[in-house]
C-alpha cells in the first residue's frame, strides 16, 4: 500500500517530465511548426549589455532553434531535481511510517512486559 502511494506520488512528477520530453520531440519535428509565430515582444535585452565583459559572442543569432539544447537542459534539470526531491521525500516518509509502526509495537511489548511486575 505504502509502495503504491510512493509510486503514485513519483508518477505525479514523472508524468509532466515525460510530457516535456514528448513535447520536445514533437517540437523538433518540422511539422510541429517550431517558431512559426515569431512576433512577440522581447522580454530581455537581446544584445549583451555593455557592463558585461565579452568572453564569447552570444549564440542567439543563428535562428530561433539555435539554442534548443539550452532550453531542454533547463527543462530536464528542473524536472530531474523535482523528481529526485519528491522521490527521496516519499521514500523517507515510508521509512518513517515503518519506523513508527515498529516503535509502537516495541512500546506495546515493553508495556505488556512491565505490566505484571508493577502489579
Amino acid at each position: 500500500m505504502t509502495r503504491c502511494t510512493a509510486v503514485l506520488r513519483a508518477s505525479v512528477v514523472a508524468v509532466p517530465a515525460l510530457a516535456v520530453l514528448l513535447i520536445g520531440a514533437a517540437a523538433l519535428a518540422p511539422a510541429a511548426g517550431w517558431g512559426s509565430a515569431v512576433e512577440a515582444a522581447s522580454v530581455a535585452e537581446t544584445e549583451a549589455p555593455e557592463v558585461l565583459p565579452q568572453e564569447s559572442e552570444p549564440e542567439s543569432d543563428d535562428g530561433p532553434e539555435a539554442n534548443l539544447p539550452y532550453m531542454f537542459a533547463v527543462f530536464i534539470i528542473t524536472w530531474a531535481v523535482f523528481f529526485g526531491y519528491v522521490f527521496v521525500m516519499s521514500r523517507r516518509q515510508n521509512e518513517l511510517r515503518q519506523e513508527i509502526d515498529a516503535l509502537k509495537q516495541r512500546l506495546a511489548d515493553s508495556e505488556q512486559e512491565a505490566g505484571p511486575r508493577t502489579e
Partner: protein, 230 residues
C-alpha cells in the same frame, strides 16, 4: 481526514497546472523574435527564482511566530519553507546560468542581481546548517530566525537591485516596481508567465506540505525513541 491527503492533492493540482503551462510554453506563446527558443527558459527561470527568493519571507514569519507562540507547527512550517526555498533558489540560479550562456555569452557574471541571488542561496545553506548543528530548542530557533530575517533583507535588496545599481539583468517587469517601459509588452507572454507562476506556487505549496508532514513524522519518531528509552 488523512494528513497525507493535502500534499498529494497539491501535487496532483501542480501536475495538472504544469501540463497547461507546458502546452502554453511550447505551443501557444509565440517564439521571441530576438532570443529565439531560449526565451522559453523565461517561463521556468522567473517563477523558480522569484519563489526561491520570496520563500525567505514565510521562513522568517514562521521563525518569528515560533519564537512568539512556541507552537511547533510554526517551526515545522519555517523549516519546510526553507528546504523547499533552497531547492527553488538552486534551480533559479542554475536555469538563469544556462539562459545567460546563449544570451550574454557567459555562464555567470558578478552582477548585483546575480550576486545577491548567490548570497541568498548561501543564506539558505546557513539556515539549514544552523538547524542541523545548533542545539535543539529555543536557541536553535533564535539563531535560525536571525538568519531568516537577514535573508528577508537580502531578498528585498535583490528585488530592488536593478533599480538601485547598474545591472546586466533585465529590469523588474512584474510587481509594484515594474516601470511601464520595462513591462512585458506581449499579453501572451504575460499570461503564460502568470500561469507558470501559479503552477510553481502550487508546486512549492505541495513540496512544503509534504516536507511539513515528514517533519512531523520525524519529531514523532524522536518522541517515541525518548519514551522508549525511559
Amino acid at each position: 481526514m488523512n494528513r497525507f491527503w493535502t500534499p498529494d492533492l497539491l501535487l496532483a493540482a501542480s501536475a495538472a497546472l504544469m501540463a497547461l503551462t507546458l502546452y502554453m510554453v511550447f505551443f501557444w506563446v509565440p517564439t521571441d523574435l530576438n532570443l529565439g527558443v531560449s526565451q522559453r527558459i523565461f517561463y521556468f527561470h522567473v517563477p523558480l527564482a522569484m519563489i526561491g527568493i520570496a520563500a525567505l519571507l514565510p521562513v522568517a514569519i514562521g521563525s518569528v511566530m515560533y519564537l512568539n507562540t512556541r507552537k511547533a507547527g510554526w517551526d515545522r512550517f519555517a523549516y519546510s519553507c526553507a528546504e523547499a526555498g533552497l531547492v527553488f533558489a538552486t534551480l533559479g540560479l542554475v536555469t538563469g546560468s544556462i539562459w545567460a550562456k546563449p544570451v550574454w555569452g557567459q555562464w555567470w557574471t558578478w552582477d548585483p542581481k546575480l550576486t545577491l541571488t548567490a548570497i541568498i542561496w548561501f543564506i539558505y545553506v546557513a539556515y539549514m546548517m544552523v538547524r542541523a548543528y545548533s542545539p535543539p530548542g529555543s536557541q536553535q530557533a533564535r539563531y535560525a530566525s536571525v538568519v531568516a530575517v537577514i535573508g528577508v533583507i537580502a531578498s528585498t535588496l535583490n528585488y530592488l537591485a536593478t533599480s538601485l545599481w547598474r545591472s546586466a539583468h533585465p529590469e523588474t517587469n512584474i510587481g509594484p516596481l515594474a516601470q511601464e517601459a520595462d513591462a512585458i509588452a506581449s499579453s501572451a507572454i504575460n499570461l503564460t508567465l502568470m500561469v507558470a507562476l501559479v503552477t510553481f506556487v502550487v508546486l512549492f505549496a505541495a513540496v512544503v506540505a509534504q516536507r511539513y508532514s515528514m517533519k512531523a513524522s520525524e519529531e514523532f519518531v524522536d518522541e517515541m525513541y525518548r519514551r522508549a528509552s525511559r
